[in-house]
Structures are given as C-alpha cells and as structure tokens.
C-alpha cells in the first residue's frame, strides 16, 4: 500500500508541474510520471552533494515543496479536465503497482546490489561515506529512486522500473501523435504509434530492462525525454513549449548524474538544440547553463571527494567539471548565434571530432576496437547478447530513416543517435577496455539506453519532411539556410511562441 502512495505522489507531482505549464491531455500522465522521477533525482542529487539529509522523507518532502512552490508562483489551479487526467492516471497506476508487486519479476546482476548499497547510504544519510567507485560508476539516479522504498521499509521500489517502462513507451507514442496530428491521416499516425509501442514492448531486452535494478532505464528515459522535448520545442506546434522546456531542463542534469557517459549524451542532445535558430536564444542559453552547472557541480563533487581522500585528480571527473565551467562561460554566446548555417557547421564539427578522436585511439591501439567489434558481432548477430536480431532490424530501419527522413526536421532526434555511435566505441578506450561477449557486457546493456529514441526517430522518419515541419521543418526541408527563418504562412515561429510564453 505504501508503494501505491509513493507512486501516486510521484504521479501527482509530475501532473501538477506539467499541467501548470499548460500541458493537457493523456500525455500528462506518462510524461508527468517521468518528469516527477527526474525532478526527484535532481532534488536528491542536490541534497546528496550538499551534504544535506537524504532520507526518503527529505527527498520527497523537498520535491513536493518545490512543486507546490512552483505551482503557487504560477498561480495555477487545475481545471476539471486536469483533474480528470489525474484521476485517469491514478486509476491506471494503482492496479499496475499492485499487479507488478504481485508478479515477482525482477532482473539483476551482481552490480545491481552496488546500486542498492548507494541507495542504503542515501537512506541512512551516509552518502558522504560512498567510495569513489560508487560515485564514479553508479551515479545517483537509480540509488535515489530506490532509496525512496526506505520510507516503507523495503530495499527498492519494486514497481518503479516496470511503470517507468510503460511511461517511456507511452511517451514515444505521445511524441509521434503530438508532432504529426492534423498533418497526416489520423489512422496512419495511430497505426505508426502502435507500431512503435509494439516495437519496444516485444523486444526481449527491453522487457528484461523493465525489471532490472540498474540505471539504464532512467538514462534511456532521460535521453528520450530530452531529445523529444528539444524536438518539440524546435518544431512542434500544438504542445506547451514551456512544459517541454521543463522536461529538457530536468532531463539534462539527470543524464549527468546517471552514468559516466551521461554528460556526453546530454551534450549530444543539447548541441542541435543550442545551435538552431528555431529556438529563442534565451532558451538555448538556459539549457546550456543547466548542463554547465550540472557537470561542474557533480563532477566537481566527485573530483573534490577524490582529492580529499588523497587520490589524485582524475581526468574522468576533473575534465567534465572543467567542461561544465566552460559551458557556463560559453552559454551567453547562444545569443549571438543567429545564422542557421553556422549552427549546422558546429554540429558537423562536433560529430566529426568524435570520429577523429576515435581514429586517434584506434591508431594507438587497434586491438581494443577489433576485439570490441568482434564481441559486438557475437552479441548482436551471434545471439550472445540476448537481443536476437532485434537490434540488427532496428539498425537497418535507422539507416532507411536516415535516407528518407528529412534531416532538418528530425535533427534533434537523429543527431544524438548517430553521434553516439563513435562514443560507444570511444568508451571502450576510456573506461574498461574492449567490450566482451555475453549479455552482461556493458555495451550490450548500454544499447538499451538508445533504443527508445531510435524507435521514435524511425517512426517519425516515416512522416518526416511534411510532418514535423508543419510548423517549420517542412518548410525547412531541404537546404536553404534561411529556411529556418521562414515558416509557412499562418504558422507561428517557435521563437515567437517562446517570446509570448515567457
């Protein structure tokens, strides 16, 4: 029963945040649950790095207080429709929580218990005792979420991962429907959304991930929400852009504190957002500052903890902390970027630099790449990774999407995916050495983090050059640099909408 109350509180928190920002309809339920989870992680992280109490009651109390204050400042009061949406959400969530708890499904690996060690430290206000290994490798997301179960005497929130998985699937469908409704036949949009839902729900590893005690799911959701929100802000017409900005600004710090590679993922999501003139400069600058602060604070905390314990400053923590500071310094430059072609050149340069970095490492030690590719082949084609041929099929779909989708309209979704390819291989050099054969291999599990966004991208590419561009992307298709400046007659430009909503 206590877990039901916890989930209900999270749902109500996310609902209040998003509805107060103008979002309405059924999407508030899954997005609200995801956003509340992100907010809880952000609040928990701030409490942890500032040495404040991190017991469940503190994390939940501050999260609720922040939400209530936000709603009060906005002088928001729910409409009847808003209340109906909340009632729908609760009526759906309660039986699901009880059902998932009764099913006795759990996926784990020995490292799952390291996350629960971090959870236990948070629950007992002992996070300051966490080892460097725990800080650097396990992050804060999964530990914070599962520490909340301490409020009712359990070790982890048993229904959290399956519920977040359902929310993630619904969010993919919501983005498809929201971005293309009114532009394409309704039946076609719903059919594609159902296809995307089934593509995730029938994937063996994604189902396994739905019960796994780890941080891949939170990472995948934050990655999806951040990229989808950036896309919606840049090209969407019907959605509350302020609510989407809140989603983006919460997802970025969560990516940073979730996994070691999280800050790279956040940067890859942010780069197309920060360099498009389809978004007002103040919003781009805001997003850059949020990522800068997140990186500087979290990695600064890790670096200082290491230093205070006599360890030397490592590039893994000091590097991203300094990059965060650099982002803060660079954030005001977003106001100066008024030329779309410059933004595109920056994107190309960013992606190319990752491949160049990979080439450098391969030149120094080709064996790691050779072994990693061989292991990945065994995992994805040979069946050792328990994916079947699902990722091969998704990869082929992704390539077709690259060929037929309007890249301008889908850049916010495409860029983080294609730029992550060299990052996956770079991580083999920067972290544990070559990837290995087996379903426990880290790359094999990390791939779960990009699948939801990849599926959203593939499904959206089926509509691409007309759909998303209903506002702007259609008109931007294909190549004129000034296309971003000239939306079709009658449609508001995103930047104007932002100005109005401020």
């Amino acid at each position: 029963m206590s877990e039901v109350l916890l989930i209900a509180l999270l749902l109500a928190t996310g609902w209040a945040l998003l509805a107060s920002l103008g979002l309405s309809g059924w999407g508030v339920v899954p997005l609200g649950f995801a956003v509340a989870s992100l907010l809880t992680i952000v609040v928990g992280s701030i409490l942890a790095v500032t040495g404040s109490p991190t017991r469940p009651v503190a994390i939940l109390g501050v999260t609720t207080a922040v939400t209530l204050s936000f709603v009060a400042v906005r002088r928001w009061w729910p409409t009847v429709d808003d209340v109906r949406v909340l009632a729908l959400g609760l009526a759906t969530a309660v039986p699901l929580v009880l059902g998932f708890r009764a099913l006795n499904l759990v996926s784990y690996h020995i490292d799952s218990f390291r996350y629960l060690v971090a959870s236990g430290l948070l629950r007992s206000d002992n996070y300051g005792e966490a080892s460097l290994n725990l800080l650097e490798k396990r992050g804060l997301s999964a530990p914070i979420v599962h520490s909340l179960a301490g409020a009712y005497g359990e070790d982890y929130v048993r229904s959290f991962a399956p519920l977040l998985t359902l929310a993630m699937i619904a969010i993919v469908a919501w983005f498809i429907v929201k971005m293309f409704e009114g532009i394409h036949p309704r039946l076609l949009i719903i059919g594609t959304a159902v296809g995307a839902i089934l593509l995730i729900a029938t994937n063996n590893r994604m189902v396994w991930n739905a019960f796994y005690i780890n941080d891949h799911l939170v990472f995948g959701v934050a990655f999806l929400v951040a990229a989808g929100a950036a896309w919606t802000i840049a090209f969407g017409r019907e959605t509350s852009h302020e609510a989407m900005l809140a989603c983006l600004l919460l997802a970025l710090p969560v990516l940073v504190v979730t996994r070691a590679e999280g800050f790279i993922a956040a940067a890859l999501v942010l780069l197309p957002f920060a360099t498009t003139t389809a978004v007002t400069p103040s919003w781009r600058s805001k997003a850059l500052r949020v990522l800068g602060y997140s990186m500087a604070v979290w990695f600064g905390y890790v670096a200082l903890t290491a230093y205070s314990r006599g360890a030397s400053l490592s590039i893994e923590s000091a590097g991203p902390a300094l990059l965060g500071v650099a982002l803060l310094v660079a954030a005001p430059l977003a106001h100066r970027l008024s030329d779309g072609s410059l933004g595109r050149r920056l994107l190309h340069a960013g992606e190319a630099s990752l491949w160049v970095a990979l080439a450098f490492f391969v030149w120094r030690d080709p064996d790691i790449l050779r072994e990693s590719l061989a292991a990945t082949y065994e995992n994805q084609i040979g069946g050792a990774g328990s994916w079947g041929l699902s990722l091969v099929a998704l990869g082929v779909l992704g390539l077709v999407a690259l060929l037929v989708g309007g890249d301008r309209a889908l850049i916010q979704l495409r860029y983080p995916l294609t730029a992550f390819v060299p990052v996956f291989l770079l991580l083999a050099y920067l972290r544990e050495g070559a990837y290995r054969v087996g379903n426990g291999d880290s790359l094999n599990r990390m791939l779960m983090q990009v699948v939801p966004l990849l599926i959203l991208y593939v499904a959206s590419a089926a509509f691409a050059d007309r759909g998303a561009s209903g506002g702007r992307a259609t008109s931007a298709e294909p190549s004129s640099p000034e296309a971003e400046q000239s939306p079709p007659p009658g449609s508001l430009t995103p930047s104007r909408r932002h100005e109005k909503s401020r």
């Binding site: 499904l105 002992n126 080892s131 499904a459």
Partner: protein, 196 residues
C-alpha cells in the same frame, strides 16, 4: 529528377512502416527462444517465488552469497549495530565500510588498532555462532558458501557492537570474515583495545 526523389522518399516511407511491422514479427518470433537460452536473471520474464532481489540472488548465486549476504544479514539480524574494524580498514570485494552502513544498516563504523587475523580464536566461540540456516536460505549450496564466507557470533542478548575478525586475511572475494559481539571478548582484551 525531382519526381524520382519524391518517389524514392515515398517508397522509403512505406518501406519504413513495413519494416517496423517486420521488426515486430522478428521480436515476437524470437522472444521465447531468447529466454529459453538465457540464465534465470537474464530472462525477460522469469517469475520467482518472491520479488525480494536479495533473497532471490542469495539463494541462487555464489557472487551474492559471498559479497552481499555478509552485510545484508547483518542488517536483517542486528540493525543499528556499531561495527569496529582495524585501523587500516577491511578490504572486501564490496567496499566494506559502505556495505556495512548501507546493507548492514549499521549505526556507524569505527576504527581501532588491532590485528583482525590473530585477535581471537573463533573455535572457542563456536557455541555462540548464529546458525546460518536460521537466517539464510537452504537452497542449493547456499549454506555451504555462507558458512565458508562469514559468520556472526553473538550471545542471546547482543550488545549491539561487533568487532570484525578475518582469520584468513582481508576477505577480498572469498576469504572468511566474522562479526563478533564484543561481549564475547575477554574484558582484558577489550580494555587493551580501548573498547568500553
């Protein structure tokens, strides 16, 4: 040329939708086969008799029996304990102090200079050893691994303070470690350690 490009894009989009349908079919066809070839904790859908991951893992996996169980059952049997370790600390595969505080639910961990290998002859305390079948599952080789790896020594009314003894050296991945209630230690030894 323009018409050709438009045609190509149209066909490509229809192909994408068909491709999604085919990918779903591949997933459905392969789902059960993947689970059939996979260890229990990597199966997508595998219902246990409990959802308690600790109980599930300890009753099935030696890694959990060795690295998680010593701390987990400390928390289950003796929550809010004080745990005394040697001045240099204890090195185990799961970092000792944080595991004792988190999974072991200890109130605190304090460091005192002593030799954890030679402090006590545990054989003399055998009557106070908490039987492992009173707290750990009996499935498979659980009891054997648990008894090889760790033990708790406590009187019927525990003091709430334990000292860590490691007769085989640092526990690392497989060496034995014991949590001994300090009431079971001679007064003179306790005084020598500066405890109470």
């Amino acid at each position: 040329m323009r018409q050709f490009a438009r045609r190509f894009h149209q066909i490509g989009r229809i192909g994408l939708l068909f491709g999604i349908a085919i990918a779903i079919c591949i997933n459905v066809v392969q789902f059960r086969g993947i689970d059939a070839d996979t260890r229990h904790n990597y199966k997508a859908l595998h219902a246990y008799d409990t959802a308690d991951a600790f109980e599930v893992a300890i009753s099935r996996d030696n890694s959990a029996r060795r690295w998680v169980a010593p701390f987990y059952y400390l928390g289950q049997l003796f929550p809010d304990s004080q745990v005394i370790t040697p001045a240099d600390g204890i090195r185990s595969w799961f970092p000792f102090d944080e595991s004792v505080l988190a999974l072991g639910q200890a109130k605190d961990v304090s460091r005192v200079p002593y030799d954890p290998e030679g402090l006590l002859d545990l054989a003399e305390l055998d009557t106070y050893r908490v039987p492992s079948d009173s707290f750990a599952p009996t499935a498979g080789s659980t009891q054997r691994i648990v008894n090889e790896r760790f033990a708790y020594f406590a009187p019927s009314e525990p003091s709430g303070t334990f000292i860590v003894v490691t007769p085989e050296g640092n526990p690392g991945r497989t060496n034995f470690l014991a949590f001994v209630d300090i009431d079971l230690i001679d007064e003179s030894v306790r005084r020598g350690l500066g405890i109470r």
